[in-house]
Symmetry: C2
């Protein structure tokens, strides 16, 4: 399993509309894609126009080929691309280490 | 709970030494800090000198004050700072959305 990480910066003042659009896109487009395993959306504390979108896929190709070359990608673009300023930087990562404090709730 | 995200880029060819140093630092320094909740280290697939370090803290201040103003921060610096090129960009994020595919293993 790999992680797609998109650093997103949106136009100022559009957080609420973006929050709704990305929730819709993740639920109706991304979550139905082959090889999708889960996602997380994080919002910047210092920079409220900044987001990180993390999507778990089975493989890099599930994202770059399976998703991006499918009609679903056009639906995703139509929902979200007008919010971006500038266009997001997207990289793929493999997990190296992970831990949680034992006594965490 | 908030997430510290550090975008790390290290000198070429030092991945193995960095992997060992960051594992040691997380285990012996970060995991003992007040307000620490868990961490994840991700390694770039397209860019093998690129890493993301994600650390869950109870609050932003647990990281920026409790950790960075403690002697532990000097131990962390001594273990890791010579790997960085350039110095990492660190931001804090709040979780907005999270989901996993129901049938995921």
């Amino acid at each position: 399993m790999i992680l797609e990480v998109a650093e997103i910066h949106i136009h100022a003042g559009q957080q609420q509309a973006f929050d709704e659009a990305i929730a819709l896109g993740l639920r109706t487009v991304i979550a139905r894609s082959e090889g999708y395993r889960g996602h997380r959306v994080l919002k910047g504390i210092e920079s409220p126009e900044r987001y990180l979108l993390l999507i778990h896929w089975d493989t890099v190709e599930a994202h770059t080929v399976g998703f991006r070359q499918s009609p679903a990608f056009e639906e995703w673009r139509a929902l979200l691309h007008h919010f971006y300023d500038p266009f997001p930087v997207v990289e793929h990562y493999a997990r190296v280490l992970e831990a949680e404090r034992q006594e965490a709730p």
